[in-house]
């Protein structure tokens, strides 16, 4: 499904005004993708479902806080879903059984420049590509799969302290690159 950013923005604006029909439409337009975000972090099952449900309760309550000047509607929604999913996962303390980062995703992350073909390279992509390979993997795995520092350390076979400083330095470099 390819949602027009302006449509989502308008649906959020109406949701903020208490229009439950617009809210329902917003759900229909975005739930598939947002559930995908939750499932990728928490696996299929209760955690992802509860997180999506909690997210839409928050969307209804906080729609008025969405500011189109500060970013796209979809990234606002994804931020809420990621947060709710990571919170629920951390509260449980364990990752669901059998939910691991797929090998092919790791392979893709190792060679991200091949994925961004064409002249029009997006800003985040370009800035991520400026990072070294292992720190970039750590940041992208954390963002996409919600891995903790410890999980990243074991996935990338380095000490937790290394992961910590990679992340800190990478986020700082990303901010400088993106805010240019």
């Amino acid at each position: 499904m390819n949602q027009s950013p302006l449509v989502l923005q308008e649906l959020l604006r109406k949701t903020a005004a208490g229009d439950s029909a617009a809210f329902s439409l917003l759900y229909k337009q975005t739930a598939g993708k947002l559930f995908g975000v939750a499932v990728r972090i928490a696996g299929r099952g209760e955690v992802a479902e509860d997180a999506l449900q909690e997210s839409f309760v928050l969307v209804w309550r906080r729609a008025a806080e969405y500011d189109p000047m500060r970013g796209g509607a979809m990234s606002w929604l994804i931020a809420i879903v990621r947060n709710c999913t990571i919170d629920r996962l951390r509260r449980r303390g364990t990752r669901p059984e059998g939910h691991a980062v797929p090998e092919e995703a790791l392979a893709r992350l190792a060679a991200p420049e091949s994925a961004s073909v064409g002249a029009e390279m997006r800003a985040l992509r370009r800035c991520l590509d400026e990072l070294e390979e292992q720190p970039r993997r750590a940041v992208v795995l954390a963002y996409m799969y919600g891995l903790t520092r410890e999980e990243l350390a074991s996935q990338l076979a380095v000490p937790v302290g290394t992961v910590k400083s990679w992340i800190r330095r990478s986020l700082d470099r990303l901010r400088r690159c993106l805010d240019q």
């Binding site: 999506l52 449900q53 500011d67 951390r90 985040l124 805010d179």
Partner: protein, 230 residues
Amino acid sequence: MRYDSPELREQLAAEYMLGTMPVLVRRRFERLLVSDAELRRAVEDWNARFDPIDLDDLVDVEEEPPARVWRTVEQRLALPREPPPRPGWLSSLAFWRGATFAAAALAAGVILFVAVRPSPTPPNVVAILSDDKGDPAWIALGTAHGGDVDVAPIRSVAIDAAHAFELWAIKDGKPHPLGLLAPQPGRPLTVEASVVPADGVLAISLEPSGGSPTGLPTGPVQYKGAVLPR
């Protein structure tokens, strides 16, 4: 930890967005977010920097959630099933008027709440928290499926920027911190029903803006109420 260095604040906002903070640091940061609008903006800016459209070739998972997810959202927010659209109960003035009335009625020992707003599944009252004069000020509402409890003020509760209201569950005389409360009705604190003790007390103390530094109430208890039998 001090939260007044701009670099540290930026770093924490970024790591919060990424989700890699240890769970206790994350909790503490979230409590701080409730009262620190500038920090909330820093997090929003980080969310916007990671615009997922930029990662579209990696964000390729799409999957329809089960229908029960939307049904629960509808029930929790007591949304109308059919048009015409009405505002949801949490944002509606009529609800807050009703809730204030219900709170007063409950405080007087009259259980009237469900009659106030006969929406599809009325939220059940878990506790009414009153000030030392006995005036109800906060309400804890359970959701239909018993998964969560929302706590929000039902009238204006004044507080300065240097302080925050912190919610506690008290069971057998021992307080357990549940989180910082926003003093406006629109942003209830959601806690899991399991942390609200069935025959305990909910209490709100006045704490420094980031919440109690010790894990125990350090300021005076301003509001409290017994958890009602369910």
